[in-house]
């Protein structure tokens, strides 16, 4: 079984491009060109140079000694938190802005929930001097004010999404609507491995630098190329896709995907798509999503804005359905506790998304000789308010 995309744009039965005809020319243009452009020498050179000099890659693979002691196994943290703008999101936006330039696009749109992807997009647009419009749910704008300010400082226009539940899902709808209205000069930079083909594959490829580096770095640290486990949180799934990428077809490397259980799977306030979702279509992709019996997409909930999405990318739907990856759900409380533990044991304040991945150690026992790589997808600076409130600091 293959875990990479097939030539029709599917992972197993998931994926495809379920888009209105108005989007067809855009998506088709991208589909026809993305692999060709990505394989160009000039593209690769520019991409890799920016990842190195601008983003600060390679991100370290850090052996967390005190955490390892605590859990009696060998834990490496892949430090995406050290990237410019504070998360893995920038790997993708750097790739896509170069893609957009080569496609001759003059205007960039993006959706954002917590604002991380919006900031990463505004950042690369500033870098390239390209107009940037970011859609963000009206509610998220209110609760993520610092990231809104960041985007504005970077010269982006932030447009509130006032439809539906006024959060990420709706911001995505608005971005798609904008694209429908601006089909020629605009590129839509999607922020995760979601959306119509070729987005999930393209984003996964841009993020695959994570696992490429893990391989090389493990070789230096441990003299082996592969870990026993890779753990990553899954919102849409891009940091996980990047961390898994070069190990997908190597079954010796066990993959663990961590979803947000919010107040608990049974609570009705959760974002654990693999447990609660069913197959369906969201944002142009056939995948697993949380929905009513009637096929209406339901509002997810997680304390972590980046995991607060009712679907997962089609790759992850396939990894789940096929059993290739083990899916774990972590509640708000469990994640917050693990986040705090990382602070106090390793001096790293993780993004609450990443804290979900760390909580897997409380759910699952590893052998002392196991090498477990955790994707530390982002830093917790953006989450300080939440941490402060939660722990009453």
């Amino acid at each position: 079984m293959s875990y990479t995309i097939n030539n029709k744009g599917y992972y197993g039965e998931f994926g495809g491009a379920y888009i209105p005809e108005m989007l067809y020319p855009n998506v088709e243009e991208l589909r026809q060109n993305y692999l060709k452009i990505m394989s160009e020498k000039g593209f690769q050179k520019e991409f890799n140079q920016l990842l190195k000099d601008y983003v600060g890659r390679p991100s370290p693979l850090y052996l967390a000694k005190r955490l390892s002691e605590q859990y009696q196994t060998k834990i490496y943290l892949k430090r995406e938190d050290l990237n410019h703008t504070g998360a893995h999101k920038i790997n993708n936006t750097i790739g896509q802005i170069l893609m957009a330039k080569r496609l001759g696009k003059k205007r960039i749109i993006a959706e954002t929930g917590a604002g991380q992807h919006g900031v990463a997009t505004a950042t690369v647009c500033a870098l390239m001097g390209i107009e940037c419009i970011v859609y963000m749910g009206e509610i998220d704008i209110a609760r993520q004010a610092p990231n809104v300010a960041r985007m504005k400082m970077l010269g982006a226009t932030v447009i509130p999404a006032t439809s539906g539940s006024k959060t990420l899902k709706d911001a995505t709808n608005e971005a798609i609507r904008d694209w429908i209205n601006n089909p020629v000069n605009t590129h839509y930079i999607i922020g995760s491995v979601v959306g119509p083909h070729p987005y999930p594959d393209m984003v996964a490829r841009f993020q695959s630098v994570i696992s490429e580096e893990i391989k090389n770095q493990l070789m230096v640290h441990e003299g082996v190329e592969k870990p026993n486990y890779i753990i990553a949180c899954v919102g849409g799934g891009s940091n996980a896709a990047g961390a898994y990428y070069h190990f997908l077809n190597d079954l010796e490397v066990k993959l663990i995907a961590v979803e947000a259980a919010g107040h608990g799977i049974e609570s009705g306030e959760s974002a654990a798509t693999s447990v609660l979702g069913k197959e369906g279509i969201i944002h142009g992709s056939k995948t697993l999503l949380m929905q009513t019996q009637d096929g209406q997409i339901t509002e997810p909930y997680s304390i972590s804005a980046g995991l607060d999405y009712p679907g997962v990318g089609p790759m992850h739907a396939h990894l789940y359905k096929s059993g290739r990856a083990e899916f774990i759900s972590i509640t708000d409380d469990e994640a917050m506790k693990s986040g705090m533990k990382l602070c106090q044991l390793e001096g790293i304040i993780p993004a609450i998304e990443s804290a979900h991945a760390l909580a897997a150690f409380d759910k699952k026992t590893f052998q002392s000789q196991d090498i477990v790589v955790v994707s530390l997808s982002g830093r917790g600076d953006k989450d300080l308010e939440t941490y402060i409130k939660y722990f009453d600091l």
Binding site: G16, A17, Y18, I19, P20, E21, M22, Y24, P25, S163, G164, K169, D170, N173, I176, R177, I180, N181, N182, P183, V184, K278, E279, G280, I281, I282, H283, G284, Q291, Q293, D294, G295, Q296, I297, T298
Partner: protein
């Protein structure tokens, strides 16, 4: 022959009206349909509301949200339509996003539509190739037409492909936009309509998006076989309710 095809053969500029089922009131569906038929509308698109209607502008979005809040479901819509053919003969199309149909079960959905007397479907986010590969046979089995969209950006090659897969009419989106945008029907649009008209497609074209009064209806149908009014009608319902449908339609022709 399907009612849609019959109506298209009538050699008259088609006026098609879209409304969202469950809006403005949960149980308005049947009465709106009857009223539209009574006012000599040619075709009706019944919108199955969806939580995330990404091809729609604010007006239809809001009507969908309200309809869902009112309690509209796929099942309920089918119940409301169960006896509709006892009273109306106008072509009826259900317009809905793919996910609710998928959850209902595509075959079950088609069967139910056929049973009720629905003539066709518009599923904006069901790609042509997926339709062709998986659902075309099913749709013909239930004598349901599936209507595809084209836009000013659709390539000639693709238009011909869509034409080949279509068997009712082609939904010609007037400009690159979501529903409900006010757009001109000036020379650019006419050139586009003319270009399509000159392609001699096997399916007639009906223009949608941006038609909101007599003048835009006339402009849209100059080179096309008809036009669809959606957002403007929803707006009318939202301000005037269902009482004055007659006057809304009379203002168009």
């Amino acid at each position: 022959m399907n009612r849609i095809q019959q109506r298209l053969n009538a050699n008259k500029k088609i006026l098609s009206i879209y409304f969202t089922a469950g809006y403005p009131h949960l149980n308005a569906t049947a009465s709106i349909i009857k009223s539209l038929e009574a006012n000599e509308v040619d075709m009706i698109e019944i919108g199955l509301p969806f939580s995330d209607p990404l091809a729609d502008g604010p007006t239809i979005q809001a009507s969908s949200t309200q309809a869902l809040r009112n309690g509209m479901t796929t099942q309920l819509l089918f119940q409301q339509l169960e006896k509709i053919r006892e009273t109306v003969s106008i072509p009826l199309i259900i317009m809905g996003y793919f996910n609710p149909i998928l959850q209902y079960g595509v075959e079950a959905f088609c069967e139910k539509c056929a049973h009720i007397g629905i003539d066709g479907l518009i599923i904006p986010d069901l790609p042509v190739d997926v339709y062709q590969e998986h659902y075309q046979a099913l749709f013909s089995q239930y004598n349901l037409l599936n209507i595809f969209l084209i836009t000013p950006q659709t390539s000639e090659e693709r238009i011909r492909y869509i034409d080949s897969v279509s068997n009712g009419f082609i939904y010609m989106v007037s400009s690159a936009s979501t529903t409900g945008k006010t757009i001109g029907f000036g020379e650019e649009q006419q050139a586009y309509f003319r270009r399509i008209s000159q392609m001699n497609l096997k399916n007639p074209q009906i223009v949608g998006f941006g038609i909101n009064n007599k003048s835009t209806f006339d402009a849209a149908t100059k080179h096309a076989h008809g036009a669809i009014i959606g957002s403007a009608f929803i707006k009318h319902l939202s301000t005037h309710g269902t009482e004055t449908i007659a006057s809304f339609i009379k203002d168009i022709r």
